[in-house]
Amino acid sequence: MAKQQHAESWSNGKSVFRHGDVPFRIGTVVLASCVVALVFAMGAIMFLSSSEARTAFGWDVLFGQVWNPVATELAEPEFGAWPAVRGTLLSSLVAIVIAAPLALGIGIFLAELCPPKLSTPLSFLVELLAAIPSVIYGVWGVFVFVPFFNQVFSTPVSETLGTYIPWLAGPVATGRGVMVTGIIMAIMILPTIASLTRDVLRLVPNTQREAMLSIGATRWETIWLAVVPYSRAGIIGAVMLGLGRALGETMAATLLIGNSQRISESLFAPATTAASLVANELTNSVSSLHESALITVAFALFGITLILNLGARLMIWYVDRGMAGGRS
């Protein structure tokens, strides 16, 4: 991370010790370390509590195809969360495919094209989308969006295109499934990606725009060929953070995905997600193996979002370094 040199600042961020400073420093460091400790503790706790399932099934906990917590005469309990993992990946993919271009457009509009008077209120509205609790998205989704989407899109499409495109096939039934979940999640992650994109685009130095304009580029060409490429690392980071949010989303998914363990090719079919699996079953787990398997799934979620966060951080660090240290 580039060290900021504030010329006016007499301190370089490391303090000179005076009376009473030592306890203050210790106090703040200790409490700040609680944050660090919390992250490690969370990882460690989940890792340890998932050991039973991990030793019993290994990677199959995440990739095995059968999730059956209850022993029957025919089969031992089996914990393969692939239906849930697949549901998570598919719904997040739908969400990102819809949200990323839209959010890029919104970011470009807010940063480059919006009349200045509208810019603050519109940014506020976009950020308000992020403040709405996810359970409200679920309530609205179940009672308003799903019936509407079912009638207007899912049913007609599944009955026409769906007859020869397997991933659009019916039956649509209640309308809850991967596609509606993906669409609602797209709305939820729009503000995350859009406001980060807007911030990153605003940081592009004006000289880049002027250089492009002066060789006869249109406004859009300036944006698309000079401004956006300049900040592409930051934009990728923003999309990664949005993806992380989608992967971990629980409430909207639980209410909208239909909670079915069957794997179906169609996007209209109900499925389940990793987060909703944990939410639905952890408090009612039938055995310690069951519980441990669910904790493994939760740990995987934690790990994936941690990696995405790290990746996004690195992207943004790379952008910062380029802007501060590069010769442009």
């Binding site: 880049q208 002027e210 002066s214 490429p229 442009s328």
Partner: protein
């Protein structure tokens, strides 16, 4: 090559007029220098000549600027097309960070739809030759544009501007961020270029104006009526401006008493 005729050009920032109405002739195959103390509006006037001034929020300009016989501020004139014909080089050497040297120069050409590799290769080489940069970079064309030194990046910017074959080249204090050797290179280059181009250069260095320009326009700041406003004080051949100025304000500026 085109001449420019400026009549009653008055740039505004919002409601505030920045420079009093300017009347000026810019001849072909000549370097016209614009000098003056800071705040006199010389950059503002320069940026009006390729309609870059209006890209600042709230900025506008009144008056007429004829490029040969067409008014670039005419009613249905597209500013983007004007900027193809009137190129500009800025004070800070700017390279497109995500493009290599070749692509930096080719940027304007690609916009216009040129895509054949042989055509592009030739045009890029021509532009880099005119900018006296070809020999230094011909083997490293795929390196990023930001890998060059300041002086080289400025010549790269000139090459980029020249690649689309403009009629006029505007330069806004192109050497102020460069060391003396790089400055000398650019000055030499400009003198070579003037045979094929019309060149207007804004400079804060009177010595530079005296060295390379054929015509000089002097701007000053008029603070007499409340808000400071720029004003064209004198324009004529460089030699007469520096050795025999007709306006007393020019003389105080030249002799260092003012600005």
């Amino acid at each position: 090559m085109s001449s420019m005729t400026i009549s009653q050009l008055a740039p505004f920032y919002g409601a505030r007029q920045a420079v009093k109405a300017v009347d000026m002739q810019i001849a072909t195959q000549e370097i016209t220098a614009i000098i003056g103390p800071s705040g006199c509006g010389k950059s503002t006037v320069l940026r009006c000549l390729n309609r870059m001034h209006e890209t600042i929020l709230g900025a506008s300009a009144k008056g007429t600027v004829l490029l040969n016989d067409e008014d670039i501020y005419g009613v249905n004139v597209d500013a983007t097309l004007i900027r193809r014909r009137v190129g500009m080089v800025f004070q800070q050497p700017v390279a497109f960070r995500t493009r290599n040297i070749y692509e930096n120069v080719a940027a304007g050409l690609r916009l216009q739809g040129m895509s054949h590799k042989s055509e592009l290769d030739q045009a890029v080489e021509e532009a880099l030759q005119s900018a006296v940069l070809w020999d230094e970079v011909k083997d490293v064309l795929s390196k990023p544009g930001t890998a060059l030194s300041g002086g080289q990046q400025q010549r790269l910017a000139i090459a980029r501007a020249l690649a689309i074959k403009p009629d006029v080249l505007l330069l806004d204090e192109p050497c102020s961020a460069l060391d003396p050797i790089a400055t000398a290179n650019i000055e030499e280059l400009l003198v070579q270029l003037k045979t094929t181009l019309t060149i207007v250069i804004v400079t804060h260095s009177m010595q530079q104006a005296a060295r390379i320009s054929d015509q000089t326009a002097v701007f000053m700041v008029d603070t007499t009526s409340g808000n400071p406003i720029g004003e064209l004080v004198e324009k004529s051949s460089t030699s007469s401006v520096f050795t025999n100025p007709s306006d007393p304000r020019t003389e105080s500026y030249i002799s260092g008493r003012v600005g």
